[in-house]
Each structure stands twice: as C-alpha cells, then as structure tokens.
C-alpha cells in the first residue's frame, strides 16, 4: 500500500486516553412498527455502551503487539478505532502509516458475488487501486488454496474457506500496520500452521503488527508485547509471558491444553 520504509522503533500507532461510548438500539433490528407500538409507553429504545475506557497504547514499527481478553472485552472495537472505522468519543489515536483496515473481514460483504469480485470490491473500498489488487490477486488466490472456488459465489463457501480467503487478503496486501483479528482461528490444521509461518515471516519486515487472538500459546510465541483488555479497560500491558500468565490465571485455565494449541 505504501512504499515508505519505516525504521524499527519508530512509532506506528499511538493510542492516547482513548474512550469510546456509543448509543445503540436494544432491538437488533429496529423498526418503525416497534417504535410506533411503544410510543407513549416510555420504553427505552436505545442503550449506551461504554466499549473502551481510557486506553493508552503505543505500537512501534518492527514489533508485534498481542491483544488478549475475554469475549466482549473491546478488542475488536479497539481495532476498529485504530483503522478509522469507529470515531473515538474521548482521546486521540495517531496512526503513522497505512493500516490494513481489517479489510480481510470485509471481504464477502456481497454473498451472491464470487470470491474474486469480493476481494476486488473489498480492496477498492479500502482505497487500493485496481492495479494494486490485480498485482496481489494471484498471490491471494494461491495462498488461500481455493482453486476454482474463487469464482464461485461466496454464499457457497464453508466457514473454513471463508477464513482462508480473509487471512490471505490480510497478509498479502502489504500495509505498514497490519491488524490480524482472530480470523485465523478457523481453517484446518495445515492451514493454521501455514498462517502461523506467514505471520512470523511478516514479523521480520519493517512493519507493525497487531494480533488479536485467543490462542495464548501463539501470542506468547510471536509477540513482543501483550495488552490485556477487560470490559473496555486496559488491565495490563507488558512482556508476553507475564501478561499472558496473568490473563490465564484470571481465566482459571492456566496450563490447559485448550488455550495453548489454537492459533
């Protein structure tokens, strides 16, 4: 995406006192009908959610930040703020480079279109040029190993195929700041291994990597620093071993095989 070479140690992402509060509807699917029906009854239609609270975080180039936390901790929300998808409510986020914008997970927004068309559309929406996408396309298709299915409508994809395509897009398009959000936890054992290799390979480049994962073994293995989020707050940040162990203690699942194996 960008050809600027960043030197290791330079700041890539700086998150300062970040807070995010938003109002959302209680109904998953708000309708005029339900609104009219509840009129005058004074029932609440919306709720305020405090998703992130005073987060401080720096990610330098040449490093890998692992983000761990239970479901609903605000990990994905934090990634969305860093990618500019959600504007913060308090604080400030500075980004010194092109972010991968979770592009990968946006792929497949139109299930009736083929995998190929979805990759193209996702890339174009993220601001890439047609040329950039064409240049990377072969590599994406090869890495995902989808074969002819790349031209089949995405509604016919299994969740594993889906995840493989998403991961391939994320790692092939070369942003300065790469965010990988759990997308790699589906897929068969062989593909998992392959994706882990890919992440290690990317780590050596002059880019910043943020890895959101529940696979604590992997996080310990490849991250330089780990941040532990819980209910929107940053609980601990520091050396992978320390933070991951503290988090695992918290979960009471320390040394369980389940959390170590998955990536």
């Amino acid at each position: 995406m960008s050809n600027t070479v960043h030197t290791s140690g330079e700041i890539a992402v700086s998150v300062q006192h970040l807070g995010l509060t938003y109002t959302t509807t209680i109904d998953r699917r708000p309708t005029l009908k339900s609104r009219l029906k509840s009129m005058g009854r004074g029932t609440k239609q919306t709720q305020v959610i405090r998703a992130l609270d005073d987060i401080m975080l720096d990610v330098p180039y040449g490093s890998v930040l692992g983000v761990v936390g239970a479901n609903g901790a605000g990990k994905s929300t934090l990634m969305r703020v860093i990618s500019g998808i959600l504007p913060p409510s308090q604080g400030r986020v500075e980004v010194y480079g092109k972010v991968s914008t979770l592009l990968a997970l946006g792929v497949g927004f139109s299930p009736s279109l083929s995998g190929r068309a979805n990759v193209r559309l996702g890339g174009l929406a993220a601001g890439m040029s047609r040329q950039e996408i064409e240049d990377h396309f072969e590599e994406i298709a090869d890495f995902a190993e989808l074969g002819d299915s790349i031209d089949a409508p995405m509604r016919t994809y299994s969740s594993g195929m889906y995840a493989r395509l998403a991961f391939s897009v994320a790692v092939t398009v070369r942003p300065d700041i790469l965010i990988v959000d759990e997308a790699l936890s589906t897929g068969d054992a062989r593909f998992k291994e392959k994706s882990l290799e890919k992440i290690k390979e990317l780590r050596s480049d002059a880019r910043a990597l943020i890895l959101v994962s529940h696979a604590l073994g992997t996080v310990k293995d490849i991250c330089n620093e780990v941040a532990w989020l819980h209910k929107g707050k940053l609980i601990q940040r520091g050396k992978p071993d320390e933070v991951v162990d503290a988090y695992a203690d918290f979960l009471h699942v320390r040394k369980s095989a389940v959390i170590d194996e998955d990536i």
Binding site: I85, S89, L113, G127
Partner: protein, 274 residues
C-alpha cells in the same frame, strides 16, 4: 514525523467535506466495479438479460395501456408514447429507491470492517439503476420513430431532464438508505409508496387532464414537473415550461442537499447501528 491519520472525537454535523470528497473520489473505481458486478450477477450483461431489460418495461407499458383503454381514457398512439416514456423515467426513480433502500444495511460487513465514505453504497445503487435505464431510452427512440412522432431540436431538453431526475433519485436513495438504518421496515413500505407516487404522477394520465380541484397534487409531488416536462419534450417535441424545469431542479437540489446532509452527519455511527 507527522501522523498519516489522526482520529479524534467528532463534532455533530458534517465531516470535513474536502477530505470526504477526496476519499470518495479516490474510491470511484469501487462504484463502477460494484455496479458492474451486480449487473453481471443479475445477468444484465448477457443477451437474454438485455432482452429482459427491454421486454420488462415494454410489457409493463402494454399492461397499463390496456388499463387506460378499459377505464376509457385517451387511447391513441400519442397516449401510448406518453405512457411508455413516463413509465421508463418513473422506473429509473423507483429502481433507484428499491436498490438504494437496503444499500447501507446490506453492506454491513464492509461497513464494520473497512473505513470508507459510506455514501458510496447508495451512489452505487443509483448507478445500477441508471445502467438499467439506458436500454429503455433506445427502445423509446425506436418506438417514437415507428409511431411517427414529431422530431425537433427540442428533444435535446431530454438531457437536462434526465440529469435532474438522476439528482432527484440519488438524493432520495441517499436519504432512504440512511433512514433504513434506523427503521429497518421502511423497505416494506416502499412498494406502497412508489405505487402511490405512480398514480399521483402524470404517467397514466397527462398533466393537462388534471382536474382543477386536484391541483395540489402538482404542488406536493416532485415528480410532477419532471414527468410533465419529460412528456412535453420526448413525446411532443415541445419546449418544457421554464417554471416546471425550475421547480423540478429546486426539488432535486433540495432533496439531494438535505439527503446528503442527513447521511453525512450520521454515517459515522453506522458501524454501531447496522
């Protein structure tokens, strides 16, 4: 070193317009690519797809013509030409609406995971409707030649009228796609809404047929001056009334500005609403 992007809390109202426009312009390829893929998906790029695209409005105008004959309106060739021409333009607006209403909510996946100007989605829906409108212009050109309707330089007025209609339809699509985020059942009301406007517009009847008692329709229906001018131009090869053109332009601009303002001031919270 200066940051490439800084994200800070936003104020109510519009985002910085110049920057918004720049990011939108950078992503114009998305709009063409999306429309093309969708049209491809709906088979409009195949021979039979094209034939259907042409056959569908023709059948529709035939059905309405039968209706006019039965309820005893004028049923000469001019009336048929008027009906067909107006129906085609009306369906440009109607198709923009049906395509546009769910454009934001069905783009959920993309909205949640990619930062881009959300307005691209209703714009794409409008572009798709325009592509479906183009073959109908050709049909009408053939039809009016066959029927031997008058020809003149006044026909060129059709161009500004189509432009006004597109701005109007785009404004409407932007507005309704945003409303649909907050009220998901708007899409269900839409068929009734378009049907009502079809009957309130001079499509099945001509503007001059309107009883003086019902003249308020002319005032409240933005499609009235548009379709009246359209029929004068492409059917009768006359110059449209200047007042109709001005009122139509005013409606279109007003709706476009209002819709865009509404959309832009709300699109930053779409990611938590879809």
């Amino acid at each position: 070193m200066t940051p490439v992007d800084v994200f800070v809390p936003f104020h109510k109202g519009l985002p910085p317009l110049r920057k918004y426009w720049r990011t939108l312009w950078e992503r114009r390829a998305f709009i063409t690519e999306y429309s093309r893929s969708e049209l491809h998906e709906q088979h409009y790029d195949s021979v039979f797809g094209q034939i259907w695209l042409i056959l569908n409005p023709l059948l529709l105008s035939a059905v309405y013509f039968i209706l006019i004959v039965i309820i005893g309106g004028h049923s000469d060739k001019v009336r048929y030409a008027h009906l067909t021409a107006c129906l085609f333009l009306f369906y440009l607006v109607a198709n923009t609406l049906t395509g546009g209403v769910k454009s934001v909510t069905s783009g959920q996946r993309l909205i949640l995971n990619t930062a881009f100007p959300r307005i691209m989605l209703p714009i794409s829906a409008t572009v798709i409707a325009i592509f479906r409108f183009i073959p109908t212009i050709l049909i009408f050109a053939i039809l009016r030649t066959v029927l031997g309707l008058p020809v003149g330089w006044e026909l060129l007025w059709a161009i500004p009228i189509v432009v006004i209609t597109i701005v109007f339809a785009l404004g409407l699509a932007i507005l309704i796609s945003c409303i649909n985020v907050y009220f998901r059942d708007i899409a269900n009301f839409l068929p009734y809404l378009t049907r009502t406007f079809l009957y309130l517009s001079p499509v099945l009847w001509e503007a001059s047929d309107l009883k003086p008692k019902l003249q308020t329709i002319e005032m409240i229906n933005p499609l009235f001056p548009i379709l009246d001018s359209w029929s004068r131009t492409v059917v009768h090869a006359q110059q449209p009334h200047l007042s109709s053109m001005l009122i139509a332009s005013a409606w279109a601009l007003l709706l476009f500005i209002f819709g865009t303002y509404f959309f832009l001031s709300r699109e930053r919270e779409f990611a938590v609403r879809v």
